[in-house]
Symmetry: C2
Subunit: 264 residues, 2 copies
Amino acid sequence: MALTFSDVMEHLAAGIQLPVNTVDKLEPDAAGTEVQGIVTAFAASQYVVEQAARLGANLVITHEGVFYSHQGHGSALEQDSVYQEKSALISSSGVGIYRFHDTIHRYALDGIVEGLLQELEWEAYVERHLPEVSILSIPEMTVSGVAEYLKQKLNIPYVRVAGNLSATCSRVGVLVGYRGNGHSVIPMYEQESLDLVIAGEGPEWEVPEYIRDAVRQGKDRGLIMLGHAESEAPGMKLLAARLSRQFPEVPVQYIQEQPVFQIL
Amino acid sequence: MALTFSDVMEHLAAGIQLPVNTVDKLEPDAAGTEVQGIVTAFAASQYVVEQAARLGANLVITHEGVFYSHQGHGSALEQDSVYQEKSALISSSGVGIYRFHDTIHRYALDGIVEGLLQELEWEAYVERHLPEVSILSIPEMTVSGVAEYLKQKLNIPYVRVAGNLSATCSRVGVLVGYRGNGHSVIPMYEQESLDLVIAGEGPEWEVPEYIRDAVRQGKDRGLIMLGHAESEAPGMKLLAARLSRQFPEVPVQYIQEQPVFQIL
């Protein structure tokens, strides 16, 4: 029997209770379509959709959405030529795009966090997973040493670092995506005796300014921002590996993008 | 008659209608205190408060708040040693901190935008000011040329750039602080025929991902993120110059911080 979009989605969402206002859905809603191939990626960018079409994959599974907003776009965007050209590409290529955000974050071990920790080969250092942050005890390294390790393991050209680069760290909190905000992160430093937090992104005037003050007071705390996509893409890469084992009858491929910002 | 905190605040807020839930206020609330000196800064960091005390200035006027949050901190933070040490410094130094955010953004020309445009020497290129974005026609430059110009004029070590670095740009939108979000920025590219947007910060999966797709479609649009503080600090520098002329009887000084992130 042919594998359908519905089969893949039911497998991925099995046992997960989603919030009423979940952003996870398939668009266009053609769940009965036969799967020709699957690609996973951080976001359904123009490039990712082009690559899916080129590979003959008709199911695109992405963590972030298609049109530059967490909750979906307003009608104003529909007048925009970038929107229109991308919409036309999606229609003509016949792909279905499954936004896979809330579900994977609700796995018993958050699948996005798991992907990042695997990519870093840091799973053995995990002490425990709290709802939004994983607490690790890593072998002692300087903050700049950790930064270099992250760049090498994730194959990214830069990270943003606040704090004293030569401070030694061992207790580390890891958060993905936009969880690098003050509310989620600041209490962790003392509650969990953290030396360093590694996150995706967050407002610049929250945790970074806290770190600035901590360092000025002689408290060696650090913060490394990987980038939103850079922190979450490994989870979508791990997902591709798992789907490939689960559904060996269809080709599955993870598509990597370049960092969205260059530093000048 | 001695100049009081109240005199300075009344001068700064004259004619401005603030929202009911404004974040602008003096803490501690000692409006009748005689002004010994004024410092202005982007945020009331530990360093800025220390410098104010060292200079004998007892009125600190800052754009962002003291405790790492736009709306004020929760009670959880009060257990934190960074909070406690900073609170103790503020108490012992006897400074009053006037959060000056909503008011300056409501000046007929937003005082934060005005400071940035003056620092860039771009005032003559302004076509018009919309509520959150100023539309400029600058002499033709490449995106990377603009990036270098910004770094030199603002004396900052780096900017983050999305888009094609060698694209030529002339029509530029300028936004400060956290206004670099998709809702504020994306419609501007086509409504105002912008080649480039320069902003403080914003979520990475909004405007940057739009630019990624635009460039992939062959549309040469660009985005430069200056950093939140880097986009707003010039407004607080301009404020110091104006207060110095308005109140020549007291010393007024602007205090510059280093960028909160280093790039590794």
